[in-house]
Amino acid sequence: MAELADWIREGYAPAFKTACLILGNSSDAEEAVQEAFLRAWRFRDSISDNQGNAIRPWLYRVVVNTCVSKLRKEIPHRDRRAPEASLEHLSDPKLSPDQEGDRLELATEMLKSLSSLPDHLRITLVLRYYVGLSEREIAMAIKKRPGTVKSRLHEGRRLLSEIPALQLLASEWLAVKASARTSQLPSIEEEMN
């Protein structure tokens, strides 16, 4: 029982957030992840013996399958819920109000952009850039070839790059990163001295 509790407590948060990014909605994501975990728990012994090192992609496959099932069967019949209009913003005490506002804008824009992508591209992008699975692991998770995963990632990035608002945020982000890097470097005068 303790093992189960640890297993679920450890894996629930990333799985829930992954489902949120795929479905764009926390209540749907909750249902999907709950269902996925119940299924995964049933088959945990089978998977642990046969493919001990592949639990993570396998678990995400179950989550992705449940999400896809929701996207195809349930959500279209009730006019797929729009991405949550007001996100439950969790304030970070370390950040200033301006920074928090920027984060919220970035999050909102990213969710909107993700929801505009086709399901198969959105899932691949989330597994790669949020979950951090490798292309091979994603291929196992979505039961496609690594080449397909690669092309989907490229197509997804291309579509995201065509969204002006996101592109603007990306360029601002790069500029901030570049200035931060510059400020960390010693100035020429200091070097001369």
């Binding site: 029982m1 189960l4 679920i8 407590r9 629930y12 948060a13 829930f16 957030k17 949120c20 990014l21 926390s26 994501a29 909750e30 992840v33 709950q34 975990f37 119940l38 299924r39 728990w41 049933r42 088959f43 945990r44 012994d45 089978s46 998977i47 046969n50 493919q51 396998w58 496959r61 179950v62 399958n65 019949h77 009730r78 006019d79 819920r81 996100l87 439950e88 913003h89 969790l90 984060r103 970035l106 999050a107 824009e109 990213m110 969710l111 993700l114 992008l125 989330v126 850039y129 949020y130 039961k143 990035r157 291309r158 995201l160 790059s161 996101l166 945020l169 990306a170 982000w173 790069l174």
Partner: protein, 445 residues
């Protein structure tokens, strides 16, 4: 340029951080999981029905990965079964092909029959004004008559039972150029509003239609009748003939739908459209023929009972569906559900209104028959007005080309119907054969 991958990762992470995790859900999952028994590691999972269902529900490829060898074996077995089955079904397929060939042959025979009937009909229509056609030459649409299985046009057991209100027909008469038309429409509407006396087999058996109400399915045939008559009348009697035709319409309980007249070379020509009750149609045609020299007569009757019944049943089905949705709406507990169900209800209501409009139109054509009469005034010498037709040269060639094109177009349409029917029948037969080949094979072997 593509967006930086690090930016995408950070943006996604930021977006994901905005979602709050409900700790109570984890506890709920834990509570639900306690009651679950993890499956045994061996093949026992294939004996647990509940588990098998869950496995198939998740996705088959999971097991493909877990037990690749077993999956491959199963696939080979399935394929081998398919191959052996296809060999055994070869005789059945040949028998089905023979049956289909016979069916198609019969369809093609039907095409030839229809084409022949169409040619006869088009030949009859070519009777031009001025030719000496027999005065009593009824030219019913032979193809429609043969399809309905009727020997004579007048033998239709027509009994219109659905009527519409006066507004419908006053609207249809609005385009008429004579005041008699409007008066006739009003009279018809007044008659339509009256119920027949009990025990009398009246052709005016009328039940007023309430807009939006469902009409009961007709128990008898609903027939749509149309016709046209070309009359030649003596010099100076044109206006009298037109007046008598108007009187015929109003006298039979109908009205004048449209009328027009013009003078050419001092001789009057014109046409008038009478809307007469469908049961008086034949008698009105007979009376019209007695008003002058008949050049040609053509009538057509179409049985639209199926369409009327179909419309009524479709409306009924939609009404039932609407009632169900309204019941669901009363039980909806979230705004999303309410909006979703409401949109369905709106959609169904618009469909019902559209079908009711079609039903009203259908009712109107089955109550009143349209008879178009062309009246030509003969010259002082008693000869009909000659219509100039080219006898040679480019004009004649053009005339023939137009006629030939129209005839060819008619033939193409006539052939397309049976061919489409044959194609649909073939597709249905293939589907039936595909889904029932096992039982057929067992029955034969």
């Amino acid at each position: 340029m593509l967006i930086d991958e690090r930016f995408i990762a950070e943006a996604m992470s930021t977006a994901a951080d905005q979602f709050r995790i409900d700790e109570s859900v984890i506890e709920e999952i834990l509570n639900n999981s306690i009651s679950l028994q993890a499956p045994a590691k061996n093949d026992e999972r294939f004996t647990d029905k509940d588990l098998q269902a869950d496995v198939s529900e998740i996705e088959e490829p999971i097991w493909d990965e877990l037990n690749e060898t077993e999956s491959i074996t199963l696939r080979f077995r399935k394929r081998a079964k398919k191959i052996s089955a296809s060999r055994k079904t070869l005789p059945v397929a040949i028998a089905a092909s023979i049956v289909l060939t016979i069916f198609l042959t019969l369809s093609i025979a039907g095409i030839n029959h229809t084409t022949g009937a169409n040619v006869a009909s088009s030949t009859a229509k070519e009777t031009l004004p001025g030719t000496k056609a027999p005065s009593t030459s009824h030219i019913p649409n032979s193809s429609s008559t043969s399809r309905l299985g009727l020997n004579e046009f007048g033998k239709f057991p027509s009994q219109p039972q659905i009527n519409s209100q006066g507004e419908t027909f006053s609207g249809s008469a609005s385009g008429s150029s004579s005041s008699a038309a409007v008066q006739g429409a009003a009279q018809a509407a007044a008659q339509a509003a009256q119920a027949p006396p009990p025990g009398q087999n009246s052709t005016q058996s009328i039940s007023p239609v309430v807009p939006g109400a469902i009409q009961p399915p007709p128990s008898q045939n609903a027939i749509e009748k149309t016709g046209s008559v070309v009359l030649s009348v003596k010099y100076g009697t044109f206006n009298e003939t037109i007046n008598r035709l108007s009187g015929l319409a109003t006298g039979s309980g109908g009205f004048v739908g449209n009328s027009q007249s013009q003078s050419e070379n001092g001789l009057m020509t014109g046409s008038i459209t009478l809307e007469v009750p469908v049961n008086s149609f034949e008698s009105v045609v007979g009376q019209v023929e007695s008003l002058g020299k008949v050049v040609s007569v053509s009538t057509k009757a179409t049985n639209v009972t199926g369409q009327v019944v179909d419309l009524a049943s479709r409306i009924q089905a939609l009404q039932d569906s609407l009632a169900q949705y309204e019941k669901i709406l009363s039980q909806a507990y979230s705004i999303g559900d309410v909006l979703s169900v409401q949109s369905q209800i709106d959609s169904i209501q618009s469909q019902i209104e559209q079908l009711q409009g079609e039903q009203n139109l259908m009712n109107s054509v089955t109550i009143y028959s349209s008879l178009n009469i062309s009246v030509n005034e003969l010259g002082r010498t008693g000869h009909p007005v000659q219509i100039h037709t080219p006898e040679s040269g480019i004009a004649l060639a053009w005339h023939k080309a137009i006629n030939g094109f129209a005839r060819g177009f008619d033939d193409v349409i006539a052939i397309a119907g049976p061919l489409l029917f044959g194609l649909i029948a073939l597709i249905i037969a293939l589907f039936i054969f595909k889904f029932s080949w096992k039982s057929i094979r067992r029955w034969i072997l």
